[in-house]
């Protein structure tokens, strides 16, 4: 797959679509904090 076919490739639109799909409803209020560290782990780890 390349960028144009990937539903989460863009920011913020694609990113938001992905976040809605992977974060359970009850955790959404903390999504910014949770995603910040997850992205950092994926980026730096």
């Amino acid at each position: 797959m390349d960028r144009k076919d990937c539903f989460y490739a863009s920011y913020p639109e694609g990113y938001d679509r992905l976040v809605k799909k992977i974060i359970p409803f009850w955790l959404r209020p903390a999504k910014d904090m949770l995603m910040r560290l997850l992205v950092t782990i994926l980026k730096d780890g």
Partner: protein, 390 residues
């Protein structure tokens, strides 16, 4: 003594040592990281990929050795998360070792994009560059699995903090943590992630002006608010052993002029802010800090605690008599052939440096590998520090 009282007593001990006050005993801060895994009879690959095994290793360590503080509660790796994602990252491990590859998330030309448009740039540029086309191939099930492991990992952080605190009375080191914002200077981030060791070394010579602008803007943005927060605070927070924990590593590849240009201005401002409020910052000076000693020599006693690694503890004391020292236990001591020699050396450290005040015993390197310490020596040192004989 219950764990809450023990925790409070230990915090007071660390605080008193940092202030060069007399103490009834010198505290021991355990700079033990993955050595705990070997000591518990496991290998790294077993512990790094299974949080339950890592938990067992930490418990084994704290059951066997009485220490007043602990560098790592088993949370310093996120392999369970990155492996769920299924693509190789910068960190690697095998049964005996763990490491990180030198890497660069940016080029000199894209540093400002990274800083000014962080969220978009990381998502659209950095991550696809790191993982290649496979970044776009991650199935939703993979993302869900990764997020699930990530939640387990964050819960593990919380559980380990609770376990070490409530069962063993281990106090929290300092208020900064990854969820609420660490103190991360531009120069450190440049070496650790943005440019890497090799590229930063070159850029400090070839692109000095650009790097100076970048470090100034980054530090104003990231460190400036920390300084304001410190100045607006009520002073020391006795929930913690120190009011800040700052990691220094990049100075090892800098000369003094580069240090003055890219690092010191904002670091000094932050440290002065702590000093003004009567707060104490612990600096973990990885590698050697001795050739930069003059920069730290004008702070009042009680402002800084320098956790040293490769430097000689007595040289640091004479170069920075105003700075409390954390360290002293070398690998040679921890691997001495005779337990008695290890304890005698520890006794000498406590009798000399400890008598002057401003001394906290710790290992002079992060205990990471199997041969970094002999278990018997470590046990004897811990027993001695807690009132036992040789």
């Amino acid at each position: 003594m219950d764990s809450k009282k023990l925790r409070e007593e230990r915090i007071q001990l660390f605080r008193d040592c940092a202030l060069f006050r007399p103490v009834k005993r010198i505290p021991h801060f355990a700079n033990a990281v993955t050595w705990k895994v070997f000591d518990a009879g496991h290998t790294l690959d077993e512990a790094l990929t299974d949080l339950e095994v890592m938990r067992e290793c930490v418990i084994h360590f704290l059951d066997r050795y009485t220490v007043d503080g602990l560098m790592d509660t088993g949370i310093r790796n996120q392999f369970t998360v990155t492996e769920a994602f299924g693509l190789p990252g910068y960190y690697y491990y095998d049964s005996e070792s763990i490491g990180i590859r030198d890497h660069m998330l940016c080029t000199v030309d894209t540093l400002f994009d990274y800083m000014r448009d962080y969220d978009r740039f990381v998502w659209e540029e950095v991550l696809p560059e790191k993982y290649g086309d496979e970044w776009y191939d991650r199935d939703l099930s993979v993302w869900k699995k990764t997020f699930g492991e990530y939640l387990r990992y964050t819960m593990f952080i919380v559980k380990m903090a609770s376990l070490t605190s409530r069962k063993y009375g281990i106090p929290s080191l300092a208020p900064n943590n990854p969820m609420t914002g660490t103190i991360n200077f531009a120069a450190e981030e440049l070496m650790a992630n943005l440019l890497g060791i090799k590229e930063l070394s070159t850029a400090m010579r070839r692109n000095a002006s650009l790097l100076k602008d970048f470090t100034q803007e980054w530090d104003e943005k990231k460190i400036g608010p920390q300084i304001e927060k410190v100045l607006a605070s009520k002073g020391p927070d006795m929930k913690y052993c120190f009011d800040a924990s700052i990691l220094m590593l990049v100075h090892n590849i800098m000369n003094t002029k580069q240090f003055e240009t890219f690092y010191w201005p904002q670091l000094e401002k932050l440290l002065r802010a702590y000093g003004k409020k009567g707060m104490n910052a612990r600096i973990f000076a990885e590698g050697s800090i001795l050739r930069f000693a003059d920069y730290f020599s004008s702070f009042d006693r009680g402002t800084l605690t320098m956790h040293i690694e490769n430097d000689d503890v007595f040289e640091i004391r004479s170069s920075m008599p105003n700075v409390a020292i954390m360290g002293g236990l070398t690998t040679e001591v921890l691997r001495a052939d005779h337990v008695r020699d290890a304890v005698e050396y520890t006794k000498m450290l406590c009798g000399t440096l400890g008598a002057e005040g401003g001394f906290i015993l710790s290992e002079g390197r992060m205990l990471s590998y199997r041969n970094d310490a002999y278990s018997a020596n470590y046990k004897a040192i811990c027993d001695f520090m807690n009132g036992g004989g040789i």
